[in-house]
C-alpha cells in the first residue's frame, strides 16, 4: 500500500468512507469464491464474465481473474466464427483493461492482459497510441506505460527517429522526465549501432544531445535526470568503445634471467626493465600476465600469440586462464611458461640460453567484453628477452644498470608497425574529444558561476577535467604539471565531500583513484637503480579503494597500512605479490580477503587492526564464489572435514602463508574461529596479540 494516510484511531474515518469500504468488503467476499469456482469449472457464461469484470475493476491485481479472462476470450473466439464478433470480443477486453487501469494504472496484470489481447492481432494499433498519450499525460513517469509504449512501437514498427522525436517532445514538456531520457539513451544506442554513415554522423548527433541536455540543467540544476544523462553522454564521447590491453608482465623491453632455484622443481626468476623495479622471485614457471581496461573473455592461443626467436617449444602451447572468480571473464589473464628441470638442477632446454619473446595480443578478433564489445585499438605487443643460466647477483645488477643507461624512451606497450595508419585516425578522434571537453568545461564553469553550490555541476566539472587530463596525457605533458592538475582535482573532490556529506565516501572513492594516478606518475619518474626494489609503499595515503592495478603488476611487497580499504577486490591482479600489509584499514570480514587466495606467491599477510568480527552484516558475502553463488566446492570439502565457519575454509584453504597477523580484530577472541583457522592453516604462524606481532 502506498501513500495512504495512517488512521490513528478507528473513529477518524468519515461515515461515508466507512460505508463505502464496508460495501466493497461485502462485494469482494461474494465475488472471490464464485470467480475461483467459475475458473475451476471453466464456466464462461455472461454472468460469470460480468462478475469477473466487476472483481477486476475492484482489484486489478487479482491475477487469477486475468487468467480466467484469457481462458474466456480463447473460449469465446473459438465459439464464434464471425470476424466482427471476434473484433467485438477484443474490444470488450480492451475496454475492461481500460477500466481496470483507471483504478490502478500501475497494475502489472492489467497491462500484460492488454499486451496479450493486442498480440491476437484483432485490434488497430493506432488507438493504443491514443491511450498512451493519455496515460503518459496523466503520469509521464509511469514505467508501465513506457514499457507498453515500447511494445506498441515494436508491434507497429515505428522508426527509431520518430520515437526519438516523441522523447524530445516529452522532455520539452518537462525536463525532469527521467523515463524519457532513459528511453532516449536506449534509442540512440540502437541508432548508433545501426549507423553506417560513419563516425562523423554519430559525432554530430552527440553534439546535438549535449545542447539539449545542457538546456535542461541550466533550467533546473538540481534535477538529477539531466545529470545522469549527461554523464552517460560524456562516457559516449571519452570512453573507448571496447576493451583495450593496458598492461603486461613481463613489461615491454624487459630482460628475464631464469635459473634453477634451491627449491626443487622451482625456478628463480629475475626481471629487469628500464625505469621499472627489479622483480625477483621463485616460482614453478615464468608467469605471463595481460591486463585489460575491462573484463574480457576469449584470451587464448589464437588471440594471443607468443613468438620466440629462436623458436622455443615451451612457448608454443600456452594455456591462458582468467585471474579471478569468473571462469569466463577477467580483467587480468595469466599463463605460466614451464621449463623442465633435470635432476642435476639444470634446465632441459634445446641448447638455447638466450632468446627474445614477442607477445602479440589480438591479431585475430575474439577478445570481447561481457557486453560483447570486441577489443579495440591497434595490435599491441610486448617484447621480452629470456636469459638462462647461473647469473649471480652482480650480473643481475649489471643488466639492470645497463638497461638504465640505455635510457630507452617511453615504457609500456608498443604498437605494432602495421597499425600506424589506424593510430593516425585515433589521434584525430582525440582532437574531436578534446574539443567537446573544452566546450563542456566552459559551460559547466558558466553554470557554477550562477550555482556555486551545485554538487552536480561540481562533480561533472571534475569528471570533465579528469577526462581532459587523460586525453592530454598522451600529448606528452610535463609530469610536474600533471601532478599539479591531479592535486587540483583532488582539492575539488574534497570540497564536494563538504557540500554533499551523505555521499562523502563515494567522493573519497573517486579521490582514491586520482591519488593512485599520482602514484603511477611518480613511479614513472627516473629513479636511482638502488631504489628500484619491488616494494610499493602506499601507507597512510587516504585510500578508500585500490585501482590502477595494471601499473602494479610487478609489485611483490605492498604496504597499504593506515588507509580506509574495505576489501581486497581487484588484488588478484597482483600475481607476484608475496607480502601484503593491510593493517589499520576497515576490512569487515574474512570474505573480503577472498581475492588474496588467488595469489600463488603470497606468504606474509598482515591484517591486524581491522574490523573482522565486529559486524553482523558481511558486505562481501555474495561477492565471492561459494555454495551461495553456486560454485560448489564439494570435492574440496569431501577430502577435508568441514570447517565451521565455512568462510574460514573458503578463504584460507588454498593460501600458503608463513605468517598471518590478526592482532586487534575482534575475531581473535573467538576460540571457534581460531580453532578453524589453525585447522585450515596448520603451518602458518598466527599472530594474535601485540607482543607477538611480527616485524
Amino acid at each position: 500500500m502506498h501513500g495512504r494516510p495512517r488512521q490513528r484511531a478507528a473513529g477518524e474515518t468519515s461515515g461515508a468512507e466507512n460505508d463505502k469500504e464496508l460495501s466493497k468488503v461485502a462485494e469482494l467476499q461474494e465475488l472471490i469464491p464464485s470467480i475461483l469456482h467459475n475458473h475451476r469449472t471453466c464456466c464462461y457464461t455472461k454472468e460469470a464474465l460480468m462478475q469477473n469484470a466487476k472483481l477486476l475493476e475492484l482489484n486489478p491485481e487479482f491475477y487469477t481473474a486475468w487468467n480466467f479472462q484469457k481462458r474466456a476470450v480463447q473460449h469465446l473466439l473459438l465459439s464464434e466464427t464471425d470476424e466482427e464478433a471476434h473484433k467485438r470480443i477484443v474490444k470488450e477486453e480492451l475496454d475492461l483493461v481500460y477500466r481496470a487501469l483507471k483504478v490502478n494504472h500501475k497494475s502489472y496484470g492489467a497491462w500484460h492482459h492488454r499486451k496479450w489481447v493486442i498480440a491476437l492481432g484483432l485490434s488497430p494499433l493506432d488507438s493504443e497510441f491514443t491511450l498512451l498519450s493519455k496515460v503518459l499525460k496523466l503520469d509521464a513517469r509511469n514505467f508501465h506505460s513506457w514499457d507498453y509504449r515500447r511494445f506498441a512501437v515494436r508491434m507497429k514498427g515505428v522508426p527509431i527517429n520518430e520515437e526519438l522525436q516523441f522523447t524530445t517532445e516529452k522532455i520539452n514538456e518537462n525536463f525532469s522526465n527521467y523515463s524519457a531520457w532513459h528511453n532516449r539513451s536506449a534509442l540512440l544506442s540502437e541508432l548508433y549501432r545501426n549507423e553506417t554513415g560513419g563516425k562523423e554522423i554519430v559525432q554530430g548527433r552527440l553534439e546535438e544531445e549535449f545542447d539539449l541536455v545542457k538546456n535542461s540543467f541550466f533550467t533546473d540544476p538540481n534535477d538529477q535526470s539531466a545529470w545522469f544523462y549527461y554523464s552517460w553522454l560524456l562516457g559516449q564521447v571519452v570512453a573507448p568503445v571496447g576493451p583495450e590491453l593496458n598492461g603486461t608482465w613481463p613489461p615491454h623491453t624487459s630482460e628475464l634471467v631464469i635459473e634453477c632455484s634451491e627449491e626443487p622443481t622451482h625456478l628463480s626468476i629475475t626481471c629487469t626493465c628500464p625505469l621499472q623495479r627489479v622483480t625477483s622471485f621463485v616460482s614453478s614457471g615464468v608467469p605471463l600476465l595481460l591486463s585489460f581496461t575491462e573484463a574480457v573473455t576469449g584470451v587464448n592461443n589464437e588471440t594471443v600469440t607468443v613468438h620466440s626467436e629462436p623458436e622455443v617449444r615451451e612457448l608454443s602451447k600456452l594455456s591462458w586462464r582468467p585471474v579471478g572468480f569468473s571462469q569466463e571473464f577477467s580483467q587480468t589473464w595469466a599463463t605460466e611458461v614451464r621449463f623442465q628441470i633435470k635432476d642435476d638442477k639444470s634446465l632441459l632446454l634445446s641448447e638455447l640460453t638466450n632468446f627474445t619473446v614477442d607477445i602479440v595480443v589480438a591479431v585475430v578478433p575474439g577478445i570481447v567484453s561481457p557486453g560483447g564489445q570486441p577489443m579495440q585499438g591497434p595490435v599491441k605487443c610486448s617484447k621480452v628477452s629470456f636469459h638462462f643460466g647461473t647469473t649471480d647477483n652482480a650480473a643481475k645488477k649489471t643488466i639492470g644498470e645497463e638497461l638504465m643507461a640505455k635510457q630507452l624512451g617511453a615504457i609500456g606497450l608498443v604498437e605494432e608497425e602495421t597499425s600506424k595508419g589506424e593510430n593516425q585516425t585515433q589521434i584525430k578522434a582525440g582532437a574531436w574529444q578534446v574539443k567537446i571537453l573544452e566546450t563542456e568545461i566552459e559551460s559547466i564553469l558558466e553554470l557554477l558561476k550562477i550555482e556555486p553550490d551545485s554538487k552536480w555541476a561540481q562533480l561533472t566539472l571534475i569528471r570533465l577535467l579528469t577526462a581532459r587530463e587523460s586525453f592530454s596525457r598522451s600529448r606528452s605533458e610535463r609530469p610536474a604539471d600533471e601532478v599539479e592538475k591531479l592535486q587540483k582535482l583532488q582539492g575539488l573532490l574534497r570540497e564536494l565531500t563538504h557540500i554533499d556529506l551523505p555521499h562523502s565516501e563515494y567522493y573519497q572513492h573517486e579521490q582514491s583513484l586520482l591519488i593512485l594516478r599520482e602514484v603511477v606518475l611518480d613511479l614513472e619518474r627516473p629513479t636511482e637503480p638502488q631504489h628500484l626494489s619491488s616494494l610499493l609503499n602506499l601507507r597512510s595515503s587516504s585510500l578508500y579503494t585500490l585501482g590502477c592495478f595494471e601499473h602494479f603488476l610487478w609489485v611483490q611487497h605492498l604496504d597499504l597500512s593506515n588507509n580506509h580499504l574495505r576489501s581486497t577486490h581487484g588484488f588478484e591482479a597482483l600475481q607476484l605479490l608475496e607480502n601484503l600489509n593491510i593493517s589499520h584499514n576497515q576490512i569487515l570480514s574474512f570474505t573480503a580477503l577472498a581475492p588474496l587466495a588467488l595469489l600463488p606467491l603470497l606468504r606474509i599477510l598482515n591484517i591486524s587492526f581491522n574490523e573482522i568480527g565486529a559486524h553482523p552484516i558481511d558486505t562481501c558475502r555474495v561477492l565471492i564464489p561459494s555454495n551461495l553463488s553456486n560454485h560448489f566446492m564439494s570435492q574440496v570439502l569431501a577430502g577435508n572435514k568441514e570447517v565451521n565457519p565455512w568462510e574460514v575454509q573458503l578463504v584460507f584453504q588454498n593460501m600458503n602463508l608463513t605468517d598471518l597477523d590478526l592482532t586487534g580484530n575482534p575475531v581473535v577472541n573467538s576460540s571457534k574461529f581460531m580453532k578453524a583457522l589453525t585447522a585450515v592453516l596448520p603451518s602458518t604462524t598466527l599472530h594474535t596479540n601485540e607482543s607477538s606481532e611480527c616485524k
Partner: protein
C-alpha cells in the same frame, strides 16, 4: 532518538492472520507473499517460534498445483513469484523436504524461454523479476542445473541500462526494485561481472533524499520498501557505505506506527506487512541491534541460508 518498537511489530504481524477487512481481501491473491514477509520479519526479530509452523505449512501445501508451482493462495493459479515465496517459507521452517524439489524445479524450468528469460506463468509475461524468482528458488532447492543458467544471466545482462541499472525487459527503465532482482540473480548465479558496480553504486547512492529515506528512481518520493531494494543491492556490491546509514535508519524508524505496530511507506502513512518486512530487513542490513542478519541476495536470514548451503546454523557474529 527513536527506537525500534520490536514487540509492537511482532504483535502487529501476529494480528494480521485473523483479519478479514478490506486490506486482507484485496491482498488475498498474494497471501503467500504476505506470509513470507510476515514470517521473515518475525524471524529477523527473533519471534518465528510464536507462529504455528505446522498450520502454515499445511496451508502452504494446499496452494501447490499438480504442475509443481504454487499459487498466491488456496484456489489461485500457480505463479513463479508465489513458488519462490513458498520455498522461502519452507526454508524458514527447515521443512524443504516437505516438497518434491524436482517437481518444483521442472515447473520453473518450463517457464524459461529460448532467449533465457522467464515467464511468470503459463501466460507468458516476461520480466527480470521472474528471472530472480526462478534463479533464487532453484538455488535454494539446489536444482540450478535444470535451467540454462548462462542464457538466464545473459538475458538479465541485456536488460542493463545507460545508468548501470536494470529494467523489466531489454529497454525498460531502471528501477531499484528491478535492480535488486537483477543484481541478486546475477550474484546467486555467480555472474556479477555483468554489473558495473561503480556506475550503478553511484546511481543507487543518489536514491537517498534529504529526509534520509531512499527512493526507487530519480525525482521520486522516498519509501521504506526501497530501504530493502536499494540497500540490498548496495550490500551485494559492497558499496553500502556510499550512503548515510544513520539518516536512513532514522527515516525507517520514523515510519513506525508507535501505537499499533507496523511500518509504513512514509511517516504517518498506513502500515502494512510489506513495508513492515522491508523496514525490518533494511534495519537488519544497517546492523540495527537486536535484529538478526539477513542475506542480501536470498532475502532470508543469514543463518537459514548458511544452514541450507553449509549445514551451519549460526550467523556471522553468532559464530564468534
Amino acid at each position: 532518538m527513536a527506537t525500534l518498537h520490536l514487540q509492537k511489530h511482532v504483535d502487529y504481524i501476529k494480528s494480521l492472520d485473523k483479519k478479514s477487512d478490506f486490506d486482507s481481501l484485496v491482498t488475498e491473491h498474494l497471501r503467500m507473499s504476505g506470509a513470507y514477509w510476515g514470517l521473515t520479519a518475525m524471524d529477523l526479530m527473533g519471534h518465528l517460534a510464536d507462529m504455528d509452523a505446522n498450520e502454515i505449512v499445511a496451508w502452504l501445501l494446499k496452494c501447490q498445483h499438480d504442475c509443481g508451482g504454487f499459487g498466491g493462495n488456496h484456489g489461485h493459479d500457480p505463479h513463479v513469484i508465489y513458488t519462490l515465496n513458498a520455498v522461502q517459507i519452507l526454508a524458514l521452517f527447515d521443512k524443504l523436504n516437505a516438497v518434491d524439489a524436482d517437481k518444483i524445479a521442472s515447473y520453473i524450468a518450463g517457464l524459461q524461454n529460448e532467449d533465457g528469460s522467464f515467464a511468470g506463468d503459463e501466460w507468458g509475461e516476461i520480466d527480470t523479476r521472474f528471472s530472480y524468482c526462478a534463479i533464487c528458488c532453484l538455488s535454494l532447492l539446489k536444482r540450478l542445473d535444470k535451467i540454462d543458467l548462462k542464457k538466464a544471466t545473459d538475458f538479465v545482462a541485456r536488460c542493463k541500462n545507460f545508468d548501470g541499472g536494470f529494467g523489466c525487459t531489454p529497454g525498460g527503465e531502471s528501477h531499484a526494485g528491478q535492480i535488486f532482482c537483477c543484481v541478486a540473480a546475477l550474484a546467486i548465479a555467480g555472474a556479477l561481472h555483468h554489473v558495473d558496480k561503480d556506475l550503478l553504486g553511484w546511481w543507487l547512492c543518489e536514491r537517498q533524499v534529504k529526509s534520509g529515506g531512499l527512493n526507487g528512481r530519480p525525482e521520486k518520493l522516498p519509501d521504506v520498501c526501497y530501504s530493502w531494494w536499494v540497500l540490498s543491492s548496495l550490500v551485494i556490491m559492497n558499496r553500502v557505505h556510499w550512503i548515510d546509514k544513520k539518516k536512513l535508519e532514522e527515516f525507517i524508524l520514523d515510519c513506525q506506527d508507535s501505537e499499533n505496530g507496523g511500518i509504513s511507506d512514509r511517516p504517518d502513512d498506513a502500515v502494512d506487512v510489506f513495508h513492515t518486512f522491508f523496514g525490518v530487513a533494511g534495519l537488519s542490513l544497517l546492523e540495527y541491534p537486536g535484529v538478526k542478519a539477513i542475506d542480501p541476495a536470498y532475502a532470508l536470514p543469514v543463518d537459514i541460508v548458511d544452514r541450507i548451503f553449509y549445514g551451519q546454523e549460526n550467523g556471522f557474529t553468532d559464530k564468534l
